[in-house]
Every structure is written in C-alpha cells, then in structure tokens.
Symmetry: C2
Subunit: 209 residues, 2 copies
C-alpha cells in the first residue's frame, strides 16, 4: 500500500476532519477544500469516500505495534519492566495519533461486518498475542499470577486511555488545570495515565486479589 504526497495530504486531511466531525458529518467537498485539491481527485485516487476511510486505516494501522514487537524480543528486560514499557509505548502512540484513534472508537461503535472492522480485529489479535508472550514469560518465571485475562487487561488499558482522551476537558476543569498551556497539560495527563495504569497492571498481574 503505497501513497504519493498528494494522497497522503488527502488522507491526513480526511483523518483530521473525520475525527472532528465524524465520517457522515464530513463531506468530500469539505475534505477537498481543506486539502486544497479538486473534488474529483478523491474519487480519482481512492474510488469513493468509503474507500478513502479504508485507506486511512491501511495507512495507519500497519506499523502501529512495530515498537512493541521489538520490546518482546529483548531478553535483557524483565517481564515486569516490559509491561511498564508497554504502557508507556501505548500511551505515547495513541497520543501521537489521536485523530486516528478517535475515528477508530467511533467506527467500533457502529460497524459490525465491514472491511475496517476486520482490519481492527486483526490488529487487535496480533496485539493480544504479543502481550500474551510477555505474560507467559512472566508466569514461567513465577513473577505473574497463573490466571490472567489478557483481553480484559487490554480493555482496561485502552478504555482508560480513550476515556481520558474523550473527557480531558472535564478532567482539566475539575483539577483546575486551565492555567497550563495545551502542551503542558497533554504532558501532564500522559504522566498521570502512565503511573495509574502501571499500578493497575501490577495489581492484576502480581498481587493477590
């Protein structure tokens, strides 16, 4: 799946608009205007609005867990350290590609049997497998508990990150952090999330119930 500069411009503009206004709430005319390209170019390059959405997923979903995979193969790291680094990595990755993840959440709520859902599920299955490798390792070293529901663990991790993403304005307001500039606040919630999820992970993986 190779995209030229113009296609990438369209993809990233569409991604931004889909994230902000939803797929059905964004018109192809709006995308064309915002990307400074002609209306027909979208059909020309991608075939349709639907296929443009699929292209966004192909563009983003592939090298998503590349860094995590290399993590697993590093035998100098303890499973506990690996899980900590996993948390850091996932939070940073989602923060970087916030627009895309907003689209993914919306898509997951609606779609059931389309191509995009299939892509998401394939990616999810791969991620679970990678994390399971770390956990199995930790169990063999008697560091982790025997019974661990990996998908549930991932659900709490991703769910917490997404929920923070969607309600960060409220979180900021409650904690009276309006004085912080946007960058500082984003940095702050990343740190908070990382510490929070690492604590939760240790409970689930190590401590007794």
């Amino acid at each position: 799946m190779e995209f030229n500069d113009k296609q990438i411009e369209i993809l990233e503009t569409a991604e931004r608009l889909f994230a902000a206004k939803g797929f059905d709430g964004t018109s192809v005319r709006e995308i064309a205007k915002e990307a400074n390209i002609n209306l027909a170019s979208i059909s020309y390059y991608f075939g349709s609005k639907e296929k443009l959405m699929e292209a966004i997923f192909n563009y983003r979903i592939n090298n998503a867990w590349f860094a995590v995979k290399t993590l697993v193969d590093d035998h100098s790291l303890s499973p506990i350290k690996k899980m900590d680094m996993l948390v850091d990595s996932v939070i940073d990755r989602i923060s970087e590609k916030e627009c895309f993840h907003r689209i993914m959440v919306r898509q997951q709520i609606i779609a059931k049997d389309d191509i995009v859902t299939k892509l998401i599920n394939e990616s999810r299955a791969r991620n679970i497998e990678i994390i399971n490798e770390i956990i199995r390792d930790g169990q063999q070293q008697k560091l982790f508990k025997k019974k661990i529901d990996t998908p549930l663990l991932v659900i709490t991790m991703i769910g917490t990150i997404y929920q923070m993403m969607n309600t960060q304005d409220f979180y900021r307001q409650v904690h009276k952090l309006e004085s912080l500039d946007e960058t500082a606040f984003q940095h702050h919630i990343r740190l908070v999330l990382k510490a929070h999820l690492k604590t939760i992970f240790k409970t689930i993986l190590i401590n007794e119930a």
Copy 2:
C-alpha cells in the same frame, strides 16, 4: 420535561438508530418509518433533528444516578461496600441503556460546546461529587489512602465498561464463548467486569503503590 407516548416512541426509535448508525448516518425519514409515524411529526414534536437529539439526552440523563445517591446516604454500609455497590450499579445501568451510552460516547468524541456536551458535563460533575462523598468518608475512617484522583478512577471505570461494550464481539471470540447465547454472554461479561473493577478499585483506594 414531559413526553407523551408518541414522543417516547420517537425518542426510543431514534435512540436505537442513532446508536446503530450515528446521528449523521440516520435520516429523519428512517426514524419516522421505523417508528411508524409521519415524517413531519418529528419536526412537529421536537422542532428539528438536532433538538430530537437533545430531547433524548433530557429523557435519559436525569434519573441516571438516582440509585447511587441513595447509596451514599445509607450509613449502615462501609465505604468499601459502597464502592463495590457503586461498581455493580454503574455496570448494570450502562448495560441497561447501552444504546444511549453508545450515543454518548460518539457525542463526546465530537462535540465541544453544544447543549448536549453541557448536559453530559453537568451530569459528570454530579457523579464525581457523589463518589467523592464516599471516598472522603473512607478517608476519614482511615480505610482509604489520602491522595485519590477521583476523576481518574471514574475514567478507568467508565472507560473499561465502554471499551468492553465496543469490543465485546472480539472478547467473545478470543475466549471462544460463541456457544453461549446472547443473554448468557451478556451476563458473563457483567460478572467479569464487576470482579475486575472491584479489584482495581481496592488497589487504588486501599493498597500501597
């Protein structure tokens, strides 16, 4: 805010369709057809599609945390028990009104300054206040830790529940639970979620880091 039978029929049909296909993905003609009412009735009763959405939120958001409030005032319960019951209550409530919560998640991702977002934030503020009461009580009784980020705790609770709601098909598949019928599976994930979140809550509230 009083609605007659016909209005409620429209509201609940619209809720179901908005949850399944999104606000922009659902046409007023579709709602009218599905609810067996005339197209013009929607404008007649609610003014516009936008106001229909607002009506759904007014219809659902009010008595949402009614049960939880009575929980707080019951002085025969320990704060720990109260938090356990809170988890049960929230999971049951969201499960019951799944369609509405799907709409809410989608709305949160997009909306920034509209009436619906204001309604959601007001509700959230009230909920945080109620939970804070329980937690303060637990802290005074030296049962809970001193520093607790209540909004963050709620974010993990709600985020985990929502993420399970959105990815339950995948969860079912990974755990090979396709043989269970829908009701049994729904019951199962509720139990799993309840135990899971109670464990997490105890870590955050009681245990040392």
